[in-house]
Amino acid sequence: MAFTSSGNLSSAEMSTRDAIGAVNRAKRIDKIFAVGGILVMVIAMGLLFALIGDLVVRGLGRIDYDFLTSFPSRRAERAGILSAWVGSILVMLTTAFLAIPVGVAAGLYLEEYARKGWLSNIIEINVSNLAGVPSIIYGLLALGLFVYGLDLGKTILVAGMTLGLLILPIVIVSTREAVRAIPRVIKEGAYGLGADQWQVMWHYIIPAARPGILTGAIVGLSRAIGETAPIITIGALTFIAFLPPAPVSGDFPFINFDWLTDGFTVLPIQMFNWISRPQADFHVNAAATGVVLMALTLSLNGIAIWIRYRLRREHHN
């Protein structure tokens, strides 16, 4: 500050000059910060987009009708992902069917029923911890509990339950946030009409929270669809050249649940399997599977973001 020998300057002039210098310096640092922020963002995003682009370039050409309708094969050019995408869809159905009702119920309880106390505190810490438990630990839980404890086998049902537990915290947290956002006056209005707690939940809270709950459920499912580790841990086979029995049939009762107890494979497992092969041809298959997987998860997330965006616009109006 005082390195200028300024014997003939008044102190007021000097401090003004110092101040201007300081402001200019601050402006320069500001610029560095802004440029640095953008640069980091561009580097990180650019790297990711380059990687994704690379994946698409390598994989997209491999995706054709045969690829989608063939079973895996020892010959890379004849292999396909039929059993994988069918398995992914069936596992997702099971996961959604289990995790969404339970997660919504738990979220409702925590937000609307639980009195503040040690029990609700414990449950809250718990949910927050579960959200951060590595997915492979869920795999070990499922292996010990479902596969060996309950002897349910390495089936679609077990995979669905495992992934259901995995995304439960996501559904719970998004339900709580959606319920918390409902104006108090709406709730009071419903109670004021003589509705009891469950009527208020069923007719007012759940419908009003539906978009938020839906967003959370979709985000959860998109995470589940890409999960590999817990499925590997429960010992899912990686070479499946058959389809589970169709859930819908022409005969009475039209719907059957035999597929739940069938072996299966899913897209990320198939991709992992092909990455692990030394031959480059299989790597192309892996890239193609990756493109399908990315398209699925990104479009699911895109839908969730769109719902949230629309929701926010409604709130503003």
């Binding site: 990180a44 579960l130 070990l140 292996l143 580790a229 890239a287």
Partner: protein, 310 residues
């Protein structure tokens, strides 16, 4: 029979409607409670399964040997059960990830919270969310088949399977999460504090570094701790690109199995359930669970403290 007029309260009681409704409400509240309690059950089940399945293991291998041994060779004729090689690889990749994620994440969240105009933020936040959704197996593909061959051209001695690349990819992978949590924390700092600082003549970066970052410190720390927890527990990137061989090394150019990669390797193999070697996946899983539990609780506590502060 359908009523011909609107029933009043007395009639609703007399017809049993109120009692039925009350019962339903009661049943539902119990059901909802059970669903909420399931989360506690899951945690308990995780602990019970991990402990009971590794009980046999710790009966035969002392915890001291397990935690201090430097050789991990469960399937050798003379098996060694020292978890340090796995632990070191796990911590090394996580540390590499943090070296990427902390500075980049801090800069990005300061930029998004303090500098970026609302439009950029509106686009960046969902974009970050989308990136969070990329399946980890895809990141594994990037690490093994794209990044490693590319970096091998510049880094001499970089093996095809190494710790460096998965570490970097891991850092990029947790970046969106870290940025979104710490940006939320920074934005939660009350505007009054910012205005006060601007009124003192501070410039943007001074406000950011002297007011916003200290004000959001516990929230930002929570973001990094939770990011660390994710890096430690991540599986597929490491199983694919860091290899599945236990290797006690400090050289990130070499490959080494992390805890998670080891569990994957055993799961893919044909070790029989009940054997000592097989039970190692539960004992190492227990180590992993305890580590992430510590991070998660610390993150939870810091975030809670932060929310209470504002």
């Amino acid at each position: 029979m359908a009523p011909t007029r609107i029933p009043n309260a007395t009639e609703l009681v007399a017809s049993g409607f109120v009692a039925r409704r009350k019962l339903l409400s009661r049943v539902m509240s119990v059901l909802l409670f059970l669903c909420a309690a399931l989360s506690v059950f899951v945690t308990t089940a995780i602990v019970v399964i991990l402990v009971s399945e590794s009980w046999e293991f710790f009966a035969q291998v002392s915890i001291i040997d397990f935690l201090t041994g430097t050789m991990w060779t469960p399937v050798f004729a003379n098996p060694q059960f020292g978890v340090l090689p796995l632990l070191l690889a796990t911590l090394q990749t996580a540390a590499l990830a943090m070296m990427i994620a902390v500075p980049m994440g801090l800069l990005m969240s300061i930029y998004l919270s303090e500098y970026a105009n609302p439009k950029v933020r509106e686009i960046m936040k969902p974009a970050l969310e989308l990136l969070e959704a990329v399946p980890t197996v895809v990141y594994g593909y990037f690490a093994l088949l794209v990044m490693t061959p590319f970096l091998q051209k510049f880094i001499p001695g970089l093996a095809g399977i190494n710790l460096l690349v998965p570490g970097i990819i891991l850092g990029i992978m947790i970046l969106p999460y870290v940025v979104s949590v710490s940006e939320d924390a920074m934005r939660a700092v009350p505007n009054g504090l910012r205005e006060g600082a601007y009124a003192l003549g501070m410039s943007k970066w001074q406000v950011a570094l002297r007011v916003v970052v200290p004000g959001a410190f516990s929230g930002i720390t929570a973001a990094f701790i939770l990011g660390m927890s994710r890096a430690v527990g991540e599986t597929m990137v490491l199983a694919i690109a860091a290899g599945q061989n236990p290797n006690l090394t400090f050289d990130p150019r070499e490959g080494a199995a992390t805890i998670t990669a080891y569990i994957v390797q055993v799961s893919l193999g044909d070790l029989p359930h009940g054997s000592l070697a097989y039970s190692t996946i539960f004992s190492t899983g227990l180590v992993l669970f305890i580590m992430t539990l510590g991070f998660n609780l610390a993150g939870f506590y810091l975030r809670k403290r932060f929310r209470e502060a504002y």
